[in-house]
């Protein structure tokens, strides 16, 4: 029945904006550590991008990642990272697989890959902006704490969600 689908649709929309908001506050405010040297910052926002990737349908997850991280960049003044962000964050979503559980072997490995690829992509972007790839590499190595932290937070959150029953209503696989 076509008229019943619209419900799921709204549900996804609301959940998308909710996750985008979570990405926003964890990227921009909560446990947000400015890196000082390059105007960037370290944060655990990616954990929520990973979470969106497993909870939401892929296109929605990509949009959510872009909107959440983009807004954070604007509000923290990192206008300069806006374009790389809008391209890179949605890519991270592609490393995850929707399944019965959030924390599966597949998704743990996915989060590690997402971390590495994300760092490499940012490194390239940084290289373009700063004009030198060598220094970008050093910076990104320091920046590795960010994806590692995000993976850990993602796994902890994922376990919590898997254990709880409430997500059964909300997960769209």
């Amino acid at each position: 029945m076509s008229n019943l689908n619209s419900k799921n649709n709204n549900n996804i929309l609301v959940l998308s904006s909710l996750l985008a908001a979570l990405i926003f506050i964890t990227t921009g405010y909560i446990l947000h550590i400015p890196m000082g040297i390059n105007g960037g910052y370290v944060h655990i926002g990616d954990a929520f991008i990973y979470l969106s990737a497993v909870i939401l349908p892929t296109p929605y997850a990509m949009a959510t990642a872009a909107v959440g991280a983009r807004l954070a960049d604007i509000s923290t003044g990192s206008a300069i990272w806006a374009i790389p962000t809008i391209i890179i964050k949605p890519i991270l979503v592609l490393f995850f697989k929707k399944g019965e559980k959030i924390v599966s072997k597949r998704n743990i490995i996915g989060s590690i890959f997402a971390g590495i690829i994300g760092t490499v992509l940012y490194m390239i972007a940084e290289g373009v902006i700063i004009g030198n790839f060598w220094s970008a590499f050093i910076l990104s190595t320091i920046g590795m704490i960010q994806p590692i932290g995000s993976s850990i937070v993602f796994i902890i959150l994922g376990f919590a969600f898997d254990k709880s029953s409430i997500l059964h209503k909300y997960i769209y696989r």
């Binding site: 029945m1 008229n3 019943l4 619209s6 419900k7």
Partner: protein, 280 residues
């Protein structure tokens, strides 16, 4: 003719072993106020969700029987249009803020915007509602910075704003002071005069007795008693099944128990007074 009709409805929530609603049938006519009463967990909110179509479209589970809206099955309606036909204010006032608007004024206007009502008309309607619900002082406040009762009034106003033919109110006065509660019942009376169907879930039985034309008494998912307010609310069986009766009715029932006789059992203070006066 009935606007809404439930035909032998049974419903089971997902993962539950027993039916939550058992063989309920009832009819709702225009220009009447229906009181849906019964103890906590008797299935009142569930019935509201069935009438609004949230069951089975939102809450899954197993629904048997038929819901007819103007003689057409509810599921044959476009889901998109139902919001403008059936208004529904929910039980928990704290989660009924849309979250997309910054002032009470815009919050009330939100539904009308979605329905594509022209701007001038929206303003006119919102102004009316601000007066009707006595919200003028709060119009420019952020909906999140209101007290419990204020939030509840705003939520109800936002639903009445859509001007639906059927209005479901699930405990619309639970957080309200006596004066505001009386105001809401006055509004219910106005809606009734506008020939709406009003379905009211309410624990404040004295007011239900005074304002409702018809009562549906639920117990354990079944519709145990239904009829006019007088038929249902003078019946001591209601008490046995965890329900409540109006204060003055209880008083008279107590006197009857002590051996006195009355021609009529009153439902509200005025009736009680005229009976007692006649007695002297």
């Amino acid at each position: 003719m009935s606007v809404i009709e439930l035909k032998d409805i049974s419903y089971r929530y997902p993962l539950e072993k027993e039916d939550t609603i058992k063989n309920v049938s009832c009819k709702f006519e225009a220009g009447k106020v229906y009181g849906l009463i019964g103890e906590n967990g008797s299935g009142k909110t569930t019935i509201c969700n069935i009438i609004r179509g949230f069951i089975p479209s939102f809450y899954k589970g197993e629904l048997r029987g038929e819901v007819l809206l103007k003689d057409k099955k509810l599921e044959e309606y476009d889901y998109e249009d139902l919001a403008s036909i059936i208004g529904y204010s929910f039980q928990n006032p704290f989660t009924q803020i849309s979250g997309v608007k910054e002032t009470v004024y815009e919050e009330i206007a939100y539904g009308l915007e979605n329905l594509g009502v022209p701007r001038e008309e929206i303003i006119k309607r919102v102004e009316e509602l601000l007066d009707l619900f006595k919200l003028r002082e709060l119009a420019q406040k952020n909906p999140y910075e209101l007290s419990g009762g204020q939030k509840q009034r705003v939520a109800l106003a936002a639903v009445v704003a859509l001007d639906p033919e059927i209005i479901i109110m699930d405990e619309p006065t639970s957080q309200l002071d006596p004066k505001s509660t009386a105001d809401i019942f006055e509004i219910i009376d106005i809606l009734k005069k506008q020939k709406k169907v009003v379905i009211l879930v309410e624990h404040k039985i004295d007011l239900v007795a005074q304002y409702c034309d018809s009562i549906i008494f639920m117990h354990d998912g079944e519709c145990k008693l239904s009829g006019t307010a007088r038929e249902v609310l003078t019946n001591p069986k209601v008490l046995e099944m965890g329900g409540q009766l109006p204060q003055v009715t209880l008083y008279f029932l107590e006197r009857i128990k002590r051996g006195e006789k009355f021609d009529m059992i009153p439902l509200n203070v005025k009736e009680a007074y005229s009976i007692l006066k006649g007695e002297e």
